[in-house]
C-alpha cells in the first residue's frame, strides 16, 4: 500500500510547490485570517485619523461610524490656534536633526578609528561602548538633569539634545561594515598618499552609503519619538517637543477627543511618512541593530 501511495504523495508535493493542484483550503483560510488580524492591528491608527476629521458632534454622538459623515478640519485648526504645536514642531525637528547628524558623524569617525587605526586606548573605548549597552539611560535621568541644570541647559535645545547623543549601537554597526571593506582599498589610497580623513570620507563612507542612510533614519525616528528625557528637560511650553507637548495641554480643548486625535496624527505623521518612504531602510536598520542578519 505504501509503495502505491508514494508516487502519489510526491505528485501532490510537487503540485503544491508549483502552486496548483487541489485548492489549499486551510492555506486560504490562514491567509484570510492573517489579513483580518493585520487590518485589526492597523485599525486604531485609522480610528485616530477618522476621529480627528469628524465634527465634534459626530464624535460624541455614539454612532461610531467608520466613515465620517462630514469631513472637517476644525480640530486641526483648533490645535494650531490654541496650542504651541508649531513651536513644538520646530523644537522636535531641530533637536532630532541635530541629534541624527551628531550621532552619525561622531559614530562614523569613532568606528573608522576602531576599525582601521592602531592607537593607544582602543581597548578602553571598546569597554566603554560595551558598558554603555548595558547601562539603562533611564537610570541616569537624575544625574543628567543635575548636569544640565548646572550648565543652565534645561529648557534649551542643547539640554534636550545632549543626553540623547548616547547611541552606542550606531558605532558597533558602522565598525562591522568598515571591518568588511577590503584592506586593498585603503592601501591603494594610501599609496596615493591620501590621509585617513580623506579615506574615510571618500571611500569608507560612500561605500557604506546605504548603512548610513538606514542608521540616520532610525536615529531620527528614535530622537523624534523619545519621551522621557525631553519630558524632564523641557518644562516650559515653549521648549517642549511634539510628543511631550501633546500630552501636556488639554485645558483649551472643550470636547477633547477630536483635538487630541488631531494632535496625535500631527505628532505621528513625520515618522509614519519616513517609515512608509524608507520601509526597507528602517527594517534593515532594526535588524542590524538587533544583530540579526536579514
Amino acid at each position: 500500500m505504501s509503495a502505491e501511495a508514494l508516487p502519489n504523495r510526491e505528485a501532490v508535493a510537487a503540485a503544491r510547490s508549483r502552486g496548483d493542484g487541489p485548492i489549499d483550503v486551510i492555506g486560504l483560510a490562514l491567509t484570510a485570517i492573517t489579513i483580518l488580524v493585520a487590518l485589526a492591528s492597523f485599525f486604531p491608527i485609522y480610528w485616530a485619523v477618522i476621529t480627528s476629521i469628524k465634527p465634534d458632534g459626530e464624535v460624541i454622538s455614539g454612532s461610531n461610524s467608520l466613515i465620517p459623515n462630514r469631513v472637517v478640519f476644525d480640530s486641526y485648526i483648533h490645535i494650531w490656534n490654541n496650542t504651541n504645536i508649531g513651536i513644538w514642531y520646530i523644537n522636535s525637528m531641530v533637536t532630532s536633526l541635530i541629534i541624527t547628524a551628531l550621532v552619525i558623524v561622531s559614530s562614523a569617525g569613532c568606528a573608522y578609528a576602531l576599525s582601521q587605526l592602531d592607537f593607544p586606548g582602543r581597548r578602553v573605548i571598546y569597554v566603554l561602548i560595551l558598558a554603555c549597552f548595558m547601562v539603562p539611560m533611564q537610570a541616569l535621568i537624575v544625574n543628567h538633569f543635575v548636569l544640565m541644570a548646572q550648565f543652565k541647559l534645561l529648557n534649551t535645545w542643547a539640554g534636550i539634545i545632549l543626553p540623547q547623543l548616547i547611541v552606542p549601537v550606531v558605532i558597533i554597526v558602522y565598525k562591522q561594515f568598515f571591518d568588511s571593506v577590503p584592506k586593498e582599498f585603503r592601501e591603494a589610497a594610501q599609496m596615493d598618499s591620501a590621509g585617513h580623513l580623506k579615506i574615510l570620507f571618500r571611500i569608507y563612507l560612500p561605500m557604506n552609503w546605504g548603512v548610513t542612510a538606514s542608521l540616520a533614519i532610525i536615529t531620527f525616528i528614535g530622537a523624534w519619538n523619545s519621551f522621557l528625557w525631553p519630558f524632564l528637560a523641557a518644562t516650559g511650553e515653549a521648549t517642549m517637543t511634539v510628543p511631550v507637548g501633546i500630552t501636556q495641554v488639554k485645558d483649551a480643548y472643550g470636547i477633547v477627543y477630536g483635538k487630541l486625535m488631531a494632535s496625535a496624527v500631527v505628532a505621528g505623521l513625520p515618522v509614519a511618512v519616513v517609515y512608509l518612504i524608507f520601509q526597507r531602510r528602517v527594517t534593515q536598520a532594526i535588524m542590524l541593530s538587533a544583530g540579526v542578519k536579514g
Binding site: A38, A149, G268
Partner: protein
Amino acid sequence: MLRDKRQEYLVALILVGPFVLIYGALFVWPTIQMAMLSFTKAPLIGTGDWVGWDNYVKILSHKLFHQAFWNTAYFVLLTVIPNTLVSLVIAMAVNRLKGPVQGFVLACFFLPYILPVSVVFLTWNWIIDVQYGLVQGLVALFNGGQPISLTRTIPLFMPTVAFVTLWWTMGFNILLFIAGLRNISPEIYEAASLDSAGRWRQFQKITWPLIWPVTALVLTIQLIAQLKIFDQVYLFSIGGRQDATITLVQYVYKLAFQQNKGGEAATAAMLLFLMIIVLSVLQYQVLRARGEK
C-alpha cells in the same frame, strides 16, 4: 615611519575625540555622579551630607519601592512572554504570504512600532474612554451593560497597558522572527511534507527548534526593555492613583522630581542599574552561546 605613526595617533585622536567627549561627559561622569549621590542626603539640585548606606537601607525597606518592584515584575510577566509568542505566530503567518500582500500585512503590523509613545497613549486612551470609547461596547457585554474605566480600575490597569504595549511593540519582534524564519532552508520543509508531516508536526520538529535562538534574543531584549518601563505606564496613570501602578523608573522619577530627594532617587536608580546590568550580562552570555553554536 615614526612620523607616520604619530600622524595615525593624531588622526585617531581627531576621530575618536567627539566620541570620548560625549560619552565621557554624558555617560561616564553622570554614572559616577549617580553612585556618589546615592550615598548622600542631597536634594535634587544641591549638595548634602554623606550618609553611607543609609539610603540603600531605607529604599530597600520602603513599601513603595516594593510596590514598584512587583508592579514592574508583573508588567514584565504580562508583556514579555505573550508578546514573544504572539509575534512568532504572526511572523509565521506573514512569512507564508508573498509579494505585495506580504508587504501590506507587514506594514500594518509594523506601523504602530514607529509611532511616538504619546501618540499610542492618546489613541488608546480614546478607544478605551469611559464615555465614548469604542471598547466600552465590548466591556458592557461582560459587565452587565455598564462601562468601566480600564485604567482607573486598578486590577485592570496593568493588563490594559500591557495589551497596548503588545500592540505597539510587536512589530519589532515580528521583524526579527521573519528574518529568522527566512534563514530556515525551505528544503527542510519540503522533505517534511514529502513525509506528509502535518503543519503542527512541522512546527514542532522544524520551526520551533530552528527559530529558538531568535526566540531567546527576542525574550531577552523584551525583558530588559520592559524592566525600564516608564512612558506608557506613567501616561495612562496621570490623574489616577499613581502609587498603585508605580514602576521602578517612575519611582526614581517620583523621588527626584516630585519629592526633591536627589540622594534617594540616585539610590533607587543605582538599584535599577544593578538589576539591568545583571540581566544584560546574562543576555550577553545567551547571545554568545548562540554565536558559538
